[in-house]
């Protein structure tokens, strides 16, 4: 394996060139380096690890709930504590795990997959991570102080309003949402710009990797959907703290306005979580089948149409609120329509498996698990799109089963496959395949044992969000089965994580391209150097590393200063080379100032004014003018793109 480890990356320069570039792009050592880094890979890694930590916390909360529900009339936890736990579980999984970790995968992989040295806005990435961390820490500190959210992850009014949720619990929830949405929006802008403007020469949109298409679509969905929840929670917190009446029916407000705003975000959120998963599935399927994904144009159109349709069906979460019949029919039809692009993609992956030479390594097993589980979840989704059935099972465990099938099946299985697949690139070491397969089977079987019985429990009338149930209800056996499944699922996740932890220290060296994959990220060494690529890769096909002949590269980016190549949006032609910022403390200081504003305003609304001053000062420090990059690198100044004559 020594030979593998020493295999030279395709884009590597000579030793002097690589060392000079590594010095230019290096992160300072020690604590200062930790706090100031703007390396997209470092930030991506932190984001993923933090996301996994929140998965573990949310998972432990789930186990506590399942233990409580394992037998009827259990007294393990009080009703109030149970309210906090299911609210924390949902909030953690949706806001602190699912969306952030998907974006984190994008933050790490985007520059590598498009052939760039870094992201478009490295400091914004760093700010995004710090603000996300602050929001998550605030939520769990609140939990320890017994002021955690109690009104579910949706926090419907009037339950979450000033009348029924006294104290600070819901305010904490609302501001936590603001933290995570600011983080998500910042990452989305950085990612979309990187994908549109920083692709390697020759990587036209028609050659963009499918994972990048999914992240591009997701980024725009984030930009359009997340303002809705920020508005919903800002209105909620102002109703609670400064006496506004957005949701107060007595003063002309509307409870349903909250639901509309929340679900205008909440439904696209589901697709924001699983579109990146679909992209990962495409990358894994292509690599382990040794052929391009079948029907690339159809796959791209399916991703785009899913992103579009996702904004047209939020009201199906509100069927039980009493809509006009025309509204019912429209949203039923829209909900069923979105199954079409999902179905098209499933058939394309099956065709890829059929026509390729599949090697069922752990990542591909997770893909197969995804297809089975996601199709089942999709079918129960089509059932729920039908108003009569939805009204029968509304707020029952049938719905809980459905969305776990869709979210774990549609997003977590691909994510686990994706983390395993790109792990050698990140660490330079291979995970253990036997442990990987064990973890897959434990997770797959544990998942279905946990969640399939919930369909039946829901049909038998068991409502969600109840802390216990009577022995005479006939729900005990299925609940016990579900709890056993949950422990099996948790053991599988434990094996999965332990495998990665051990492999990071003792795994076999991976070399640049251990899976013989075709994407650009495999053209550089594992782990990649600080500058990602020595020479700039040039792309002549969708899987550049599978093309015959020598690998084309370009030279000419500056070695002594941080510089990135910008290309044209559609064709990926070299356009300009722009300076890129180095390590900075301002993103962290700005995140601290914004955190002061957000948290302070929970207790005193004047923090919105006074704390804006440090925020402004930090932003001025952040944007303080740097030396002209053009002059530093003595670039030609006569033909400036976009300048007027």
């Amino acid at each position: 394996m020594t030979g593998v480890a020493e295999a030279r990356a395709l884009t590597a320069l000579d030793v002097d060139g690589e060392q000079a570039l590594a010095r230019t792009w290096a992160t300072p050592r020690g604590l200062w380096g930790f706090l100031t880094t703007v390396d997209a890979k470092e930030i991506g890694k932190r984001y993923v690890v933090t996301g996994l930590a929140f998965l573990a916390l949310g998972g432990v909360l789930a186990l506590v709930m399942r233990t409580q529900l394992a037998r009827p009339e259990s007294g393990l936890i009080s009703p109030d504590r149970y309210n906090q736990i299911f609210s924390m579980h949902g909030t953690t999984m949706m806001f602190l795990f699912a969306v952030p970790i998907m974006e984190a995968m994008g933050l790490y992989l985007t520059p590598l997959m498009v052939g760039s040295r870094t992201m478009a806005f490295p400091r914004l990435n760093a700010f995004s991570y710090w603000i996300y961390l602050a929001g998550g820490v605030m939520l769990y500190v609140a939990y320890l102080l017994n002021i955690a959210p109690e009104a579910g992850w949706t926090a419907y009014v009037p339950l979450s309003g000033p009348e029924y949720s006294a104290g600070k619990r819901t305010d904490i929830w609302a501001q936590m949402v603001t933290f995570t949405e600011v983080a998500g929006l910042a990452a989305a802008v950085s990612m979309a710009t990187t994908i549109l403007k920083m692709r390697a020469p020759g990587m036209s949109l028609a050659r963009l990797p499918l994972f990048m298409w999914s992240m591009l679509t997701t980024s725009f969905m984030v930009m359009l959907a997340m303002p809705a929840v920020m508005l919903a929670t800002s209105f909620l917190i102002s109703d609670r703290l400064i006496g506004t009446h957005f949701y107060n029916e007595a003063e002309g407000g509307s409870n349903l306005l909250y639901q509309h705003l929340f679900w205008f975000f909440g439904h696209p959120e589901v697709y924001i979580i699983f579109l990146p998963g679909l992209g990962m599935v495409s990358e894994i399927t292509a690599t382990f089948c040794r052929r391009s994904v079948f029907g690339y144009p159809v796959m791209v159109l399916s991703l785009l149409s899913t992103g579009f349709l996702a904004f047209g069906l939020w009201v199906h979460h509100m069927f039980a609120t009493g809509l006009p019949h025309l509204g019912d029919s429209f949203y039923t039809a829209a909900s069923m329509t979105i199954a079409l692009p999902a179905g098209v993609q499933i058939f394309c992956w099956i065709a890829t498996l059929w026509d390729g030479k599949p090697r069922f390594a752990t990542p591909l097993l997770f893909v197969v698990g995804f297809v089975i589980t996601f199709v089942a979840g999709g079918l129960s989704g089509v059932m729920l799109a039908s108003v009569p059935l939805d009204l029968q099972v509304h707020d029952t465990y049938f719905v809980v089963a459905h969305f776990h099938y869709v979210l774990i099946g549609g997003a977590v299985f691909p994510l686990l496959g994706g983390i395993y697949y790109w792990f050698p690139k990140v660490t330079g070491r291979m995970p253990d395949e036997v442990a990987g397969k064990w973890s897959f089977w434990l997770i797959f079987l544990g998942f279905h044992l946990t969640f399939f019985p919930m369909h039946i429990l829901g049909l038998r009338g068991m409502p969600r969000r109840v802390y216990t149930y009577g022995a005479d209800m006939g729900w005990a056996d299925l609940n016990l089965l579900s709890t056993l499944g949950a422990y099996l699922l948790a053991s599988g996740l434990l094996v999965y994580l332990l495998n990665l932890v051990v492999a990071a220290r003792r795994g076999w060296p991976a070399g640049p391209n251990p899976w013989n994959a075709g994407g650009l990220e495999w053209a550089t060494s594992s782990p990649p150097p600080p500058h990602n690529f020595g020479a700039t890769p040039v792309v002549e096909g969708r899987e550049p590393l599978w093309l015959p002949g020598e690998f084309p590269v370009m030279h000419g980016l500056d070695v002594e200063h941080r510089e990135v190549l910008l290309t044209t949006i559609a064709d990926g032609k070299p356009d300009i080379r722009e300076g890129s910022p180095g390590p900075s403390i301002w993103p962290l200081l700005s995140a601290l100032a914004v955190s002061l504003l957000f948290i302070g305003s929970i207790f005193d609304e004047w923090f919105l004014v006074w704390a804006a001053i440090p925020v402004m000062l930090c932003l001025i420090g952040w944007f303080w003018p740097k030396s002209s990059h053009s002059k530093l690198v003595k670039a030609p100044d006569d033909k400036i793109p976009g300048a007027l004559a």
Partner: protein, 201 residues
């Protein structure tokens, strides 16, 4: 597989305007986000208005004068804003400084007018849902006025204190694009705040 050199990137320029540079895309991204926020806040206004027995609720509509003055001022500011953009894209230092100064003055004036608008809304945020949504819309827009005020102030100051290179001209141009967005957002909000209460049945 080995590498094959196919080109040299060093002759490329190191700065560009509009869609050629990265900052333009940052501004576009945040305009998409803020535009979505504005659109949803306007939708919330219309939703509450449609569900109300009367509009405004228990009160009178805002006085037209200051809001209309704001609309006129903002639309008029688009002319020096366009001239600032054109001068910056031609990389002409003097005209860029001049028009940036004019835009800055108009931006400051807009903040003063906004102060009077608050005094003539004829409702409070805690009066009822009508007052809440009116204040939400106008505050949302004020945050954008303030953001662009700080941005324009900063950019203009640098034009007079630092050497003006191509990157700086590009910053000025990006600022002009953002100001156009702030003006464009005001027009539907103006119609909702000042005219919808007069037109509502």
């Amino acid at each position: 597989m080995t590498a094959r050199l196919v080109g040299d990137l060093s002759p490329l320029p190191a700065a560009g305007f509009r869609s050629h540079g990265l900052w333009f895309w940052a501004a576009m991204g945040f305009m998409v986000i803020e535009g979505a926020g504005f659109a949803l806040a306007c939708a919330a206004y219309i939703y509450l208005m449609n569900g109300a027995r009367e509009w405004p609720l228990d009160g009178v509509a805002p006085d037209l004068g200051w809001g209309t003055a704001m609309a006129v001022l903002l639309v008029a500011s688009l002319v020096p804003n366009a001239l600032m953009s054109r001068a910056s894209r031609r990389r002409l230092a003097g005209p860029t400084q001049l028009w940036a100064g004019v835009v800055f003055v108009l931006n400051t004036l807009a903040l003063v007018v906004r102060g009077f608008e608050f005094l003539h809304l004829n409702t409070r945020w805690d009066a009822n849902a009508y007052g809440s949504i009116v204040w939400a819309l106008i505050l949302l827009h004020t945050v954008h006025l303030l953001t662009d005020f700080i941005d324009t102030c900063f950019v203009t100051l640098l034009l007079f204190t630092h050497p003006i290179d191509t990157e700086r001209f590009s910053d000025v141009d990006d600022d002009s694009v953002y100001w156009g967005f702030v003006v464009a957002c005001w027009l539907p909000i103006y119609l909702l705040i000042y005219w919808a209460p007069r037109w509502a049945p």
